[in-house]
Symmetry: C2
């Protein structure tokens, strides 16, 4: 039996507990168990599935400090952040529990029969979304709770009716295992099929690869680096039966600051952005890595204020040595490459701390060097100083797909920058006005996604109630006996959900 | 200038008219024009876009017999079918025109701000679906009108706000060109941006490949063979920026006939299926290519009736020589391979006619030979005779992804075959009871799609109002000034559309 153990982020020391590594050769058994569980789960009511999700939240909460302390040790994140993230995780589980129970997410559509229609009788036709099958979820290093064992991908996939196999992120095996145990407890307590949720550990890429390759796997959820997400995406597309991969791979989240704001509020925004860049040691997928503005006194004032505020912020622990090493190497490379001018770099003696870094470059140079758009994961941001509004527009039009884009702009100058707004909107999943991109609201109206390479499928969000749609497909029932129809498609509309009835939304039963 | 011409399906003779072939080297210019048109189209109101689609229907209708006769000549399809298909095409255009005008398809979601929320103020967040960008549509040989120049893919992509480039199917260049001219006329008449619709001709694969590869291309719609669809899908996934491909690649559309029906109504269903198998010379993607039942006197009676009825049906013209040659070769191979027993094969002297063919095989042999699941495009069906209900279940579980699955079953035996129902449902996009799979209703509740290899993305339908969602992605607006918000997200709900407001569907304006 091969095992590994957790590492304390702050010290690199081994933590208590050994975790068994699942060998790639075991994937077949894992997936067959998942398929069997998926089949059984189809007979469980949506209401019971909702109970299961809510029970997971309860079991996580019931662990109390044990989970909080383990997550702090493995991730290096402070207590407030972990408690906040635990709250977010439980909210997500309860949200998807409610979504499952209500059943409106299936987008039920009913077209009633008309035997007298000419030239052919019109059949009775009913459609709803149904689960794809077993889903592989990869734990994210930067969200040990909210995007890991019981995170948003797991919650939405279980709510949709899929079986879930989580591969724990090796940076927090203990946290992941504690949560996995809570899920299994909740599954037992609410009478779910055995193995509806499975949890595996592994440190290499081969296990991940075998999980994605297995013919019984029907979808993949991933949050992490471009390299990791794209590799899984390619494997999934090269299968005999390609499967959807929803990989959220982060981005540089450009922020545009417009002239009037720079005249009026430069210092204030400089201070605000110092906080956003360093939040969670810059380890959010929505971290603002790019700030674009036209050269002006205001931009100088903004920059001065940003650097001054950064000087007052204590550097934070990074998630694990892989990330802090990459960040430190990235900072060093910025200096040695000399393409950008590093105007702030706090180098910490303890290199597990993320010492913030800010660089500056001209618009022309930025346009000539597409690699400057690549994310340096951590508390880093690049200021792009443009000669003119036209150059600023060219810079925006050069953006790769992004999770977010932000406009810091005064009302009176909105009309001058319509083209900038449109160009930014076309590149992003979410556009923010006069705020910071960090902070991702869990709401129906949230889109946490965006054009490639921010994600592998811009048509879906990873956050909010609609995230459930990633793991479902429509099925139509034509002239189906009512005893075989799924509940949301039956005439009696027991939950009073909205359905498209003969093309119009209605929450009535049929016949009206 | 390289040109080609249309071929009369019935004779192989050249038809009037020469069509200029777009060289692969011209793709860059085509796509830049499309991008420019897409940018301009974003400023056109949804209402005007709807007018455009409705105008296309009018222009097509206005061509009258010229279009009907050309389509008949190029496709070999009879007048009634072409007139019916033209009607379907105009219905689709008007449907998507109405969908665009109403604007409810954007799935608007609004979460209102709460400045007093703790620990952080809640932002104002609004989300809607927006068009992906220029879309390539490939004309389908088997639907010269309904899935070609102004077919369902074009109509839904234009309605969503995308620019469209259609590559005409080389089997009906004249039909395609007539329709393309009608679209351009409609675009002019309704004041649409130049090049919002472009139409190109080509006979080789290279043009298709370059269109899909071009960086400005953002999505692809395709209806046709597995080989063609999969090749485009692979190209799209190997791009630097992978893009979604919705390829509908057909299937064998299995039909299960259960014992009680075979006792009571074998002859009647045999007769009905003779009609379904030969409809349009078997050239529908929903053609029933597989009939599965348990060995019995009833199955023999069904088979006798099927063959007898086939004997009374006049063979019809196939679409083009490529298809009729492949069908004739496929029939010959069935006999020479000897895996199945050919029990009916009408061989026509004029081999452009599709002489129906029926074969038979044991369940065991079927399970041993997965290639028997491959579609033979044309009026062909394979009867799989099983030893038992268990073997029948194993056969169903072996199915690849299918557009449709059909159950011919009496109410009194429904309870005996729950496992068969579930297994079939998991393999298909649409499940039909006591009917035929041919005939695809244009309705919201229609799913014309299904698990791979029936399509490349089981999460979307190619038919019905929801087909528009293939070409759109969500965009969130956070604290966006109302002057920049798209109409469906503004407080005033001018069209009275349903929106998710703070998580609940409502057609009211805000504040309530």
């Amino acid at each position: 039996m091969e095992t590994y153990y957790g590492i304390e982020a702050a010290t690199g020391a081994a933590l208590e507990g050994e975790f068994e590594i699942t060998q790639p050769s075991m994937v077949g058994e894992v997936m067959e168990r998942a398929q069997e569980a998926f089949n059984a789960y189809q007979s469980i009511s949506a209401d019971k599935k909702g109970d299961f999700l809510i029970a997971i939240a309860e079991e996580i909460e019931a662990m109390g400090d044990i989970l909080v302390h383990r997550a702090m040790a493995e991730s290096g994140l402070p207590e407030g952040r972990i408690i906040g993230e635990r709250g977010r995780t439980m909210n997500q589980l309860r949200l998807f529990g409610a979504v499952a129970k209500k059943g409106e997410w299936v987008e039920a559509a009913i077209d009633t029969a008309d035997a007298n229609r000419k030239p052919f009788p019109k059949p009775d036709l009913r459609k709803q979304l149904e689960p794809l099958g077993p889903v592989i979820v990869f734990g994210a290093s930067n969200f040990p709770l909210a995007y890991s064992a019981a995170g948003g991908d797991t919650a939405s996939a279980l709510a949709s009716g899929c079986a879930v196999i989580v591969k724990a992120h090796p940076a927090h095996p203990g946290t992941s295992q504690l949560v996995a145990d809570a899920i299994c407890k909740a599954a037992d307590r609410t009478g779910m099929p055995k193995n509806i949720y499975q949890h595996v550990h592994g440190t290499g890429f081969e296990l991940a690869q075998e999980l994605v390759k297995h013919p019984l796997t029907k979808a993949v959820g991933f949050t992490g680096s471009f390299v990791g997400g794209k590799a899984l995406y390619d494997i999934a597309n090269q299968r005999d039966e390609p499967i959807p991969v929803f990989a959220e791979m982060g981005s540089v989240n450009p922020v545009l600051i417009f002239p009037e704001t720079l005249k009026q509020k430069a210092a204030e925004w400089g201070n605000t952005y110092a906080g956003s860049i360093t939040l969670g040691s810059g380890q959010f997928c929505t971290n603002p890595g790019l700030i674009v503005a036209i050269k002006s006194n205001g931009l100088n004032e903004f920059t001065d204020s940003l650097l001054e505020s950064l000087g007052t912020i204590t550097s934070q622990q990074m998630l694990h040595d892989g990330i802090s090493n990459a960040f430190n190497e990235g900072k060093a490379k910025l200096k040695s490459d000399g393409i950008v001018e590093v105007i702030y770099a706090k180098d910490e003696e303890n290199n597990r701390l993320g010492g913030p870094c800010v660089a500056k470059v001209d618009g022309t140079k930025f346009l000539q060097n597409p690699t400057l758009q690549k994310e340096l994961f951590g508390p880093y941001s690049l200021i792009v100083a443009c000669e003119s509004a036209d150059e600023m527009l060219a810079v925006i039009r050069s953006f790769e797909g992004q999770l977010t884009g932000t406009m810091i702009i005064e009302n009176e100058e909105l009309n001058n920058y319509g083209a900038h707004f449109k160009a930014l909107k076309n590149a992003v999943g979410r556009i923010i006005f006069n705020g910071v991109p960090t902070g991702v609201e869990v709401a129906t109206s949230m889109n946490h996604g965006g054009p490639f390479p921010a994600t592998t499928d811009s048509r879906y969000s990873a956050v909010g109630a609609d995230a459930i749609k990633r793991f479902a497909r429509p099925v139509s029932y034509q002239n189906c006996p009512s005893s075989l129809l799924p509940l949301p498609l039956q005439n009696e509309n027991l939950n009073g959900i909205y359905r498209k009835v003969n093309g119009e939304l209605s929450n009535a039963s049929i016949p009206f």
